[in-house]
Symmetry: C2
Subunit: 360 residues, 2 copies
């Protein structure tokens, strides 16, 4: 271990050159090396030259972990906890965060939590131990009180995609309810009155919000809810395919489907193709869905602005780190209805009878 002491100038070899190595090689003090490395003013050109030379000769690399220990204690790193890094939506949000972070010289430690609240907690605490400055979180947990201690000691936290259940945490979320209501309203405007809802588990806040938007749109047009047309707890594409078959097999089947998540929408597309109803039953999805542009008819979707969601989440985090003391708030990012065909299929005549439409 003390080979260091004995040979203060190993140029290569295992182990890295330290500032002291550079200093002794350049014949200056450590502080001077520090000044040069950090581009501080007030060092003679001559010394800058000598230090720079020593740096390259020894292959010296500045050690930020040591540097952070001393100054300000900020590490210029943040944690980003998403459900699944390989998921389209999560990847897009992460990418938006990363782009803003890079611009600020902040690195991103990314991790998947797979809807597991326990893993969320463990991972978050693990990153706190590494002294991340802030945390952007797509919560799987029901409560985020496990972060109270850390927030109290300065950790900035922002939730994305899902509203946190702790009101003091900032959040940036899509307008799930509004987007869903717009989608369903769009279907109603095309004459549909029997509209199925296919959604994820109610315990996921976004899923519940989209369901609420669906109901709200029905109410706004005085269309009664039919529980048989509401299918929740659909986790996979296969679940959704099955559910689509089931609702279309009802005595009074829906003429339109609102699929409240990308995998669910994909499942609905498959079912409609299997039943040769793609051109007959209207469909609107939530989330950009990869296949949306390539099936016939192309799929109308409610698009979430992943770029804005990610970028604004980072900016909010940064503002907090810079001392913003405003009360926590929830930023709702608007969605966009992208009309591509499947959502513009009109309802068949019979279900558009004015009398039945009144209050079923």
């Amino acid at each position: 271990m003390n080979s260091r002491r004995t040979s203060p100038e190993r140029p290569t070899g295992p182990g890295r050159a330290t500032m002291r190595d550079v200093a002794s090689r350049a014949g200056v003090s450590v502080k001077t090396v520090s000044r040069v490395v950090n581009d501080e003013a007030g060092v003679t050109d001559e010394l800058v030259r000598r230090v720079t030379a020593a740096v390259t000769e020894l292959g010296y690399r500045h050690n930020l972990t040591a540097s952070h220990l001393r100054r300000g204690h900020r590490t210029a790193s943040i944690g980003v906890l998403v459900q699944d890094l390989s998921n389209e939506f999560c990847g897009a949000v992460l990418r938006a965060i990363e782009d803003r972070a890079r611009a600020e010289g902040v690195v991103v430690i990314a991790s998947s939590i797979d809807e597991d609240a326990e893993r969320e907690r463990e991972t978050a605490h693990g990153l706190v131990a590494r002294r991340i400055d802030g945390l952007i979180l797509m919560p799987a947990s029901r409560h985020q009180d496990y972060l109270d201690t850390d927030r109290a000691s300065g950790l900035a936290v922002v939730a994305v995609d899902r509203r946190p259940l702790v009101t003091e945490i900032d959040a940036v979320v899509a307008d799930n309810q509004g987007g869903a209501a717009e989608a369903v309203g769009h279907l109603i405007a095309h004459g549909h009155r029997r509209i199925a809802f296919l959604g994820d588990s109610e315990s996921i806040a976004t899923a519940a919000e989209r369901r609420d938007g669906y109901r709200m749109a029905l109410r706004a047009s005085r269309i009664g809810q039919d529980p048989a047309l509401e299918r929740m707890d659909l986790r996979t594409t296969e679940d959704a395919t099955r559910a689509t078959h089931e609702v279309l097999g009802l005595d009074d089947p829906p003429t339109a489907i609102f699929a409240a998540r990308n995998v669910i929408c994909t499942g609905a597309v498959v079912a409609l193709q299997q039943l040769s109803l793609s051109g007959t039953v209207a469909l609107v999805g939530f989330d950009e869905v990869a296949i949306g542009e390539f099936v016939e008819p192309r799929v109308t979707v409610v698009r979430q602005d992943t770029h804005t969601i990610g970028a604004n989440a980072f900016d909010r985090l940064l503002a907090r780190l810079d001392g913003d003391q405003a009360p926590a708030s929830i930023e709702v990012v608007p969605t966009t209805l992208v009309k591509r065909g499947s959502g513009e299929i009109r309802a068949p005549r019979k279900s558009a009878k004015p009398r039945r439409a009144v209050r079923r």
Copy 2:
């Protein structure tokens, strides 16, 4: 700054409790706190209890950045540099790496480099300054000598997806040439002799390898190459759609297409749909393509095993960190031909003349 000195026991408030705070609160030495925090054996139950109590009362969190500075100098963190975090393939590989890393208590700093060699270099050096133990890299650069100094001082480096141009770096890549040859062989076996190749820029190693596999398969069946059927430099879906239209507009058009990348394959699907040739011209893609399962006919593809690629890259990195001194090697992960319909379309009679099909 010295408020610390004056009030050694701020329980909450900004700033974090240190080991010394815990020690004084529990009435023990710092070393004892260290032992408890690190689960070291040989501390009285009574003291463990007192320390644990003080820890929770003060909201103490272990500071790994300080800890790493002292011991071994390993940070249990790695950098992962991919082309684009929001890309399907990159996301899948990253996820596989992350899962293995989590199991080993290693965190992943992820970053996109967007085919920009300069950014690759800067990002890598930035992470070295944070003392990552290792780096998994999907190289955009032509050369990786910029890592020589860091590799010499102990940085472990593994390339994924693309072979590095520095032979001393380990790599885990898909069998691009073999996969492409298998795809083209499959088309030949279905009677095709006019097979178009649609690929990315030749400067990207994987693209060139796939092109070589295509040529090799043609040669193996004594089918002459026709430069008019080879289209490179296709970057986007739109490029590919255009190129597909062009080759199909030739006097002697291809009866089959090999699309050597996911976005290219998507573009070919679009073109075939526009021309109503989806059921007539055979198509095999490279990479799992999102739409592959949902268009008619479903798309036959050469699938890359992203899970194995990512997991093995991490394991290789870990082996190096654990002192493995074996010479660098390139692990080639086999691909799988997934037959789903589009690749099994047979060539029309006339091109299947027995005389030309010398030895099928």
